[in-house]
C-alpha cells in the first residue's frame, strides 16, 4: 500500500475525512471543503498558498471566535496513525487549528512518514534545526468525561486533511 493510501485509511479510522489533491487543483479543492467564514495560517509551502483562498489570515479575535473553519499546514503526516504535526508558528497555526469547529489541514505527500518512530526521527532533526514546538494531532478533539464519547470539546469537531500529491 502506498503511504498516501495507508494515511487515508488511518484517517478514516479516526473519523477524519481526507482528499488527495494536486498543486493545480488545490485552490478549488480547498474552496469546496471550507465552510465559511474561515480563518487561516499562511502555508509554509512553495507550491501552494492561501492568498486567493476564502480564508482570513491573521484574523481578529472575533473572526477567530466566529470562524467555522480554520486552515493550516501540517509539517508531517504519520501514515500508520493518521496523525499530523501542527507547528507553533507566528502565523498562528496553533490557534487557527484549534478554535474553529472544523480544521482543514494541508499535508504534502513528501512529508508523510510511515510510523511514529519515523516521526520522532523527523522531530529529532527539526529540534536540531531549532524548530521545537509541534502538536501531534490525531482526529478531532474528544472527551468521555460526560458519560459518552463526544467529539468537539475545546478543539475541532471535524478534521479534513488535504493531501497534496507530489509532482510526478
Amino acid at each position: 500500500m502506498s503511504s498516501v493510501a495507508e494515511f487515508q485509511q488511518s484517517l478514516s479510522r479516526s473519523d477524519t475525512e481526507s482528499t488527495v489533491t494536486t498543486p493545480e487543483e488545490f485552490a478549488s479543492t480547498l474552496a469546496d471543503v471550507v465552510d465559511r467564514p474561515a480563518v487561516g495560517a499562511a502555508l509554509p509551502f512553495d507550491a501552494v498558498d492561501l492568498d486567493d483562498a476564502p480564508v482570513t489570515l491573521n484574523p481578529t479575535p472575533t473572526q477567530l471566535r466566529e470562524a467555522k473553519t480554520g486552515v493550516t499546514a501540517a509539517r508531517l503526516g504519520v501514515a500508520s496513525l493518521g496523525t499530523v504535526a501542527i507547528q507553533s508558528r507566528a502565523a498562528g497555526d496553533e490557534l487557527v487549528s484549534l478554535h474553529p469547529e472544523t480544521h482543514v489541514v494541508v499535508v504534502r505527500e513528501r512529508d508523510l512518514r510511515p510510523d511514529l518512530e519515523a516521526a520522532f526521527d523527523w522531530l529529532d532533526d527539526r529540534f536540531d534545526d531549532g524548530e521545537r514546538s509541534f502538536v501531534l494531532a490525531t482526529g478531532a478533539s474528544a472527551t468521555g468525561d460526560m458519560g459518552a464519547l463526544v467529539e468537539g470539546v475545546h478543539g475541532p469537531e471535524d478534521v479534513h486533511v488535504l493531501v497534496l500529491a507530489d509532482d510526478e
Binding site: P61, A90, L116, F134, L136, S141, G147
Partner: protein, 736 residues
Amino acid sequence: MSKTDELDADAIRELLRTEGDGIKENTRHFNEERYERIEEVGSETHERYRSEARQVKEDAIERLPELVERTTAAVEDNGGTVYVADDAADARRYVRDVVDEDDAESVVKSKSMTTEEIELNEALDASGVDVWETDLGEFVVQIAEEGPSHIVGPSLHRTREDVTELFEREFDTDERLDTAEKLTAFARDYLGERIEDADVGITGANFVLADSGSIALVTNEGNARKCASVPDTHVAVAGLEKIIPSVGDLHPFAELISRAATGQHIPQYLSILTPPVDTPTVDFDAPDEAGFGGSDADREFHLVLVDNGRREMRDDDDLRETLYCIRCGACANSCANFQSVGGHAFGGETYTGGIATGWEAGVEGLDTAEEFNDLCTGCSRCVNACPVKIDIPWINTVVRDRINRGKDPGFEDLLVDGLVPDEETAGTPLRKRFFGNFETAAKLGSATAPLSNAVASAGPVRAAMESLLGIDARRDLPSFERTTLRDWASDREAAVTDPRRRVALYPDVYTNHVQTSRGKAAVRVLEALGCEVVVPDVGGSGRAPLSQGMIDTAERKAEAVGETLGDYVDRGYDVVVVEPSDLAMFDREYERLVDEDVHRTLSDNSFELFEYVYGLLENGADESVLTAGDGDGVAYHSHCQQRTLGLEPYTEAVLDRLGYDVLTSDVECCGMAGSFGYKTEFYELSMDVGETLADQFADAADERTVVASGTSCLEQLDSLLAPAPRHPIELVDPGA
C-alpha cells in the same frame, strides 16, 4: 481531597452503592481497550517499548541532578524561568507570586495531578484569583467540590445522569443538559469564555525534555493547547521525576501512554512545546484588531519543578520505582478491587490505584498510605499492565511492612507473641500476624482435626474470631485434614521405576493441610505420566507473611524453602507447584528475598503443575493414561498471579488435548485474594468483585464443571456459585 473517612465496611458499602457502577463501567472499558490496542500493535513490539521506556526512566532518575541543571539552562536560554520548589508550600508560593506580579484576576488550568498534590487551586482561591479547571472531568469534580477518583478520569465515578443533575443545579440552566453532547457543549462554551478572559494558563507536563527545555502534554480535549496558547503567561507545574533527556527519548512513551491509559494508539493531542512559543497570544479585549488582537505582549513562561519528597524517594531503594510512573492509570484499571470501589476508597490525598501507595507514602507519608494500602491484595494484575514495569505489588508490600513497624506495641502482642513464631517487631497488628503465620495454625489444625474444625466453626469461636481477628463470620473457614499430603505421600510405595523425570511436588500449606485431594491427584497424574514424585518436608513459601507486609518473616521462610528445594534441584529434581501464588513467589518475589543464585535456581527449575504436565505430554508422555473429557464442559478460572506469569494457557491446552470443552473466565481476579476476603471490612467488596466472575460462569455452571487453579479462587467460587469446585488436576486424575 474529599476522601471518605476511615476505610471501614460502612464506607466501602456506601462507595459500592454510590460510585461502584460508574467506576466499574469506565475502568473495565479502559482495561478492555488497553488489551485490544496492545494486541493490535503486537505484544513483542509493546514489550520492546516497555523496556525502552523503563530504561529511559531508570537512567533519568539516576542522573536527575544533572538533568535538572540541563533543564534549567535550556529553559532560561529559551527565555523562560525554572523554579525548583522544595515542597508544596514553596511551589504554591512561587505560582501565587507569578500570578500576583501579573495582576492576574483569573487562571485557567489543564489537568495536572501535581497541582492537585500541592493544592494549588485552594491557594489561588484564597488570594482572590478565579481558578477554572478546563479538563471536563476536572471541571466536574471542581464543581462537585470533590477529589478526583482516578488519575486519568477524575470524574470516572460519576454517571452521565449524576453530572446532569449536578450541572443543572449548579448553573441553573434553562435548557435540559440531559445528554453527553449537551453537557459537553455547555461546558465548552462556559469554559471557552473563561479561557478567553484568563490572564494566566497553568498546565502540567507529562514529560520535560532537558536538552531543549521543552514540555510534552498529553490531552484528548484540546484544553491544554488553549491554556498554553491563549494567555500570555504560561506556568507549567511538574514533578521533578518528569524530566527525560531529549525529544528522542519521548518516543517509547508516545507509543505507550495512551495505549496503557485509555486504549488509544496515540492521544488526540500530543503537544511538544518549547516555550515561549511563537504562537501569537490572543487579546480578546481587542476583538476587532487583526493579528489575533494585535497584542505585543511578550510571552512569559515559568516551569515549576516540584520536589515535595521526590528526592528522598529517589534515595529510597524501594520507593524509587514510583518515580518512573507516567500516571496512566493502567494499574487502577487492571485492579479488580479498584474496578469495584474506585479511587475515593483506593486512593490517598491525590493519587489513586495501586501506584498511589508509593506516591502517597513518598509525598504525604505513611499515615496517608495506610488509609488504603490494604486494598492491594498483591494479585499482581497491574504488573504487566504498567507501561514502565513498576513492581507495584512490591511497593505496596514494603509500605505495609513499614506501616506495621510503626505501630505501637500493645496488649495484643504480649498475648500472642508465643503463638506467632515470626520475625516481626512488636507492633505488627495481631490480625496480620495471625494470617501471616497461617502455617502454624494449619499444622495445629491438622494435628487436632476434626476437633479443630468443629471448634473453629462453633458460633462463639467465630464471634471471637470476628471481634479479635476481624475474620468475617460469613466466610466458611478452611477445614483441616487430619492426614496431610506429606503424611499420605510418605506412606506410599515408590510407584515408578526408571522414571522419565524426578519431581519434588511442593506441598504448599493449603495443599498439605486443607485441599489435600488436589495434591493427591497431582501425585497420581505425575506418576501416571512416568515421573518419580516426592513430597519434600518443606515449609510455607512466605506468601502468607508477605501479603501481610511481614517481610522479615517472609525472608526467613524463603531462605528455608530455597535451601531445601535447592537441594532437590541439585539432585536432579524438578520442582512442581500446585498453588500459583507460591510459584509466583519463587519466580518473582524471591528475587528480593533470597540470594540471587538461589532465586535463579528455583525460578529456572520450578513449574506450575499444568505447565509441567503440558511439557511431559509434548515430550512423548502417554496422554491416554489420564481421564479424558469426551467433550465434557469445563468452566475454568485461572489464578491472577498465574496469568501474570503467562501460565494460564497450559491448563487450557492440556484440558483441550484431553477432549474437554473449556470456557475460560477473563476477570482480573476472583476478589478473594488469600486472607483479603476473610477480613470483615473487605467482605462485601470481595463478594462484589467475585460477582463478576460468578456472572461469567452463571449460565455455564449448570452444564460445566467449575474448576480453578488457586486456593482462594476455589473458596470464592464455592461461596458464590457451585459448592466444592475443584482444581483442574482432579478432572484428569486417573485414580479419582
